[in-house]
Amino acid sequence: MINPSYAVILGVLLFSVGLYGALRSTNAVRILMCIELMLNAVNLVFVAFSRLRPEAMIAGQVFAIFIMAVAAAEAAVGLAIILQIVRQRGVVYMDKINLLKG
């Protein structure tokens, strides 16, 4: 027997760990990794709530699958953009990419 509420709390904590990393890092690839962690935390909360409410058992898991698909698409496009920035500008640090600043 297991209490899914623990998994909800774990999801919240994982989301804040990812938020901390995404805010703190300057490396664009690392920021993208932390965003993936945050999406994973959201999945965790979805699944935990799907277990807490039996009538939402399947809906929560289907949502999690859609989030995985969106996360894959987001990582694909995000990494492509970062690769192109690295090739064009030679830097990967977000605070160095200030082309729009006057």
């Binding site: 699958i65 698909a69 894959a72 698409a73 990582a75 694909a76 990494l79 690769l83």
Partner: protein, 117 residues
Amino acid sequence: MGNYFDVLLFLTVGVGFVFLGLWVAKLLRPNLPNTGKQSIFECGERPYGDSRLKFRVRYYIFALVFVIFDVEVIFLYPWAVVFRELGLPGLVEMVVFLGILVVGLVYAWKKKVLQWV
């Protein structure tokens, strides 16, 4: 729960085997380092240059196409399980889904980004 107990056992034994083996080997082996032994192993060749060399961006596109179709497989799997129940509508729905994704594959093909160079 019962099925996953085997998984847990397998995981414990697998991880334990690796670390136990490394630990016993560390206890038994003589420690005589020299420069030849400590150099990076590169199939018996003498290593040269930096190991962090840059690959072509083309290889990233292979990974990209793989990821997109990996996600597609995740949708295919539950479909295959309930395929008999769904019948013809299910088949049509999946054909539409696959058709949309095949457009992307055709685009990648036409753009000639799938060629291994």
